[in-house]
Symmetry: C2
Subunit: 168 residues, 2 copies
Amino acid sequence: MADSGRTPQARALLQQCLHARLQVRPAEGDVEAEWVEVQRGLVIYVCFFKGADKELLPKMVNTLLNVKLSETENGKHVSILDLPGNILIIPQATLGGRVKGRSMQYHCNSGKEEGLELYSQFVNLCTKELAANSKCAEAGVVVKHGTYGNRQVLKLDTNGPYTHLIEF
Amino acid sequence: MADSGRTPQARALLQQCLHARLQVRPAEGDVEAEWVEVQRGLVIYVCFFKGADKELLPKMVNTLLNVKLSETENGKHVSILDLPGNILIIPQATLGGRVKGRSMQYHCNSGKEEGLELYSQFVNLCTKELAANSKCAEAGVVVKHGTYGNRQVLKLDTNGPYTHLIEF
């Protein structure tokens, strides 16, 4: 995890969901908006900062997928891989904002191209990890994700979001 | 805001909502669960750390209610007081967690009694600020809040959560 005192390279916000639905393409003219959805699982909002290195990603994915924050039927906390549950990844650059007066500034955020590259690799790594896990493959759980740069229109249904912040 | 490098006294996570519904008392026997709900507005998840001082609260409320994160019909960002919009406050101690191996630890969180006191005063201050604002009073917007210590069963509908983290 990020040492306190230095600027993190990435920030992830985790919430547990029973069901979540995310717009991945807005409506345009006669074409309806496109959505992805997941049943029970983990919502990962992710934001990368300037200087974030892709070497960070495997460790980041390993931490997020193995930290025990998902509740079983018996009230025990296990990882999302062990639940097993679905994953919804939401690019959320606003998470990198800092208050300046009455506005937020995003000077520490990674640039758009760099951020997109990191986000895409992050999504790919999560997808691979889930696919490589036999419990997840058997249960048929999936990774879904939002479109980088879009407005993340989200509908979230929880049994307690159990919100956690993890910096890297 | 908290200087980087020192432990914050409080952490607030902000999301914009079109509608949100939060359980404030779970079902018990034949008695149905009790919920509060808000229409368009701001969801504030809040967590206090050890050493948080109640002197902090007025500044904290002032920042959260005046930072320009709420979108008008025209796409301009204004404060929740200027929108004007509703506020849903959710006590979320999990926001204070730190990763240790595969588990989260909450050693930095304020104690339960202290946390409840800070939370109650925070809710009261937000309620007073909204009531004292003529725009909010005219629009009939409200402050609703979760029950400290309970599971925060939440249903959230957004047009983009526009998630922001602010530490104090």
